[in-house]
Amino acid sequence: MVEIAALSVAVSAAGTALGAVLAIPGALWIAFGRSPFRRALLALFTVGLGLPPVAVGLAVAFALWRSGPLGFLDVLYTPGAMVLAQTIVVFPLIGTLAVVALRGIDPTLPAQLAGLGLRARDRYVLLAREVAPGLVAALLAGFGRAIAEVGAAQMSGGNIEGQTRVLTTATMLAVGRGEFGEAFGYVAVLLGIMAVASGVALALQARWA
């Protein structure tokens, strides 16, 4: 149980981190850039919100099968493959919410701060503090989606005991075996993890508010 929960957290956190690395620069560009292609990226993020994890899992599995184009890597049914799938699942959500957060700040704020005669470095810190709570919310949402989804984890990880079994795939297996008590146990742990993650996020937001 501990091992399964730990893998769930590790894979989802890695997927969220990579998703953020992909999405947040894009969100900055959408919110503050001038290029007409910004709309195209925003559309990609928004459409991606509806991307079913199982479709992502299928695409990742298809690419990583030994008979697939990336089969030579031999990484299907590893935590790495799961992280790859979850990164694709969460980056549109993180991107969309980050755009909302970044657009939420007063567009005249940079000019105002400049008018106060602050140094560039201090202006940057103040701006970062302004957007941090929104970005934390985006990361929390991404983590929640990653740890709660089952389709991508099952298809890319294979639910292998001791290797790629996470809370959601373990729940499905327990139900298939008629072990409903065990299934509810996994769900309870999942909810506990989300409660802790939310608590951490709220604390961070309160600190920067």
Binding site: S67, F72, Y77, G158, G176, G178
Partner: protein, 273 residues
Amino acid sequence: MFRHAFLSALLCLGLLPLPAAAAPPAVVLATTTSTQDTGLLDVLVPAFEKASGYTVKTIAVGTGAALAMGERGDADVLLVHAPGAEASYMAKGRGLSRALVMHNAFIVVGPPSDPARVKGSATAQDAFAAIARTGAPFVSRADDSGTNIKELALWKAAGVTPEGSWYVKTGSGMGDTLHVASQKAAYTLSDDGTYLSQRATLSLVPVVEDAKDLLNVYHVIVVKPIPGRVSDLAGGEAFASFVVSPQGQQIIRTFGRERFGRPLFTPDAGKGE
């Protein structure tokens, strides 16, 4: 800035597979949900890993999907139970060897009220004909699993084309399908191991068992590697040898005795078909 961050992200993604690729190669075992849902693999696979030093990646799918994985070279060894489909797989030249491992029995289960009056039928075929005649609900795996292939063969033998509102297709594994049948008070075909291991949570009773058309035979097949693709022939062969070895057969012989009061599978290695 955007381009820079994007490139670094791509780099991170590219680096991801490296630690996994450096790990020792693992044998991919494609097998059926019944071997996983009964818990047999939870005993058999660790014993093999301990005895051989190999790591096994067990992918539990239906027999049809397992054979398809073997055909594409996506698995090294298969543990499956659809002799007809296995024979055509071997005929395609995609298997290096195929050996008898064990059997248990299929079992027709249904609601205790037995609306189609099939309890005590001599064969499953007779029971299926009666179920279709009375229109009593029947739940099918409909997932190209070994059990599903067997079920379709039984309908064919009974001279019935199963369709209509009484015939429900779940597209799910054995455990899930049993629960659907239980909730719908319907009949279904199960391997007796999965039924036995889940009986406590089901309101289903055996209606036909020990019939001559209900034998459920498992074979292990070593997949022929496809040149140029990742494979682990030695690992696949090691697993196949292990399940038919005295140690593997002993695990199969005793599995389930403690928990269910009787073994769920009968080891058959070396016996004639």
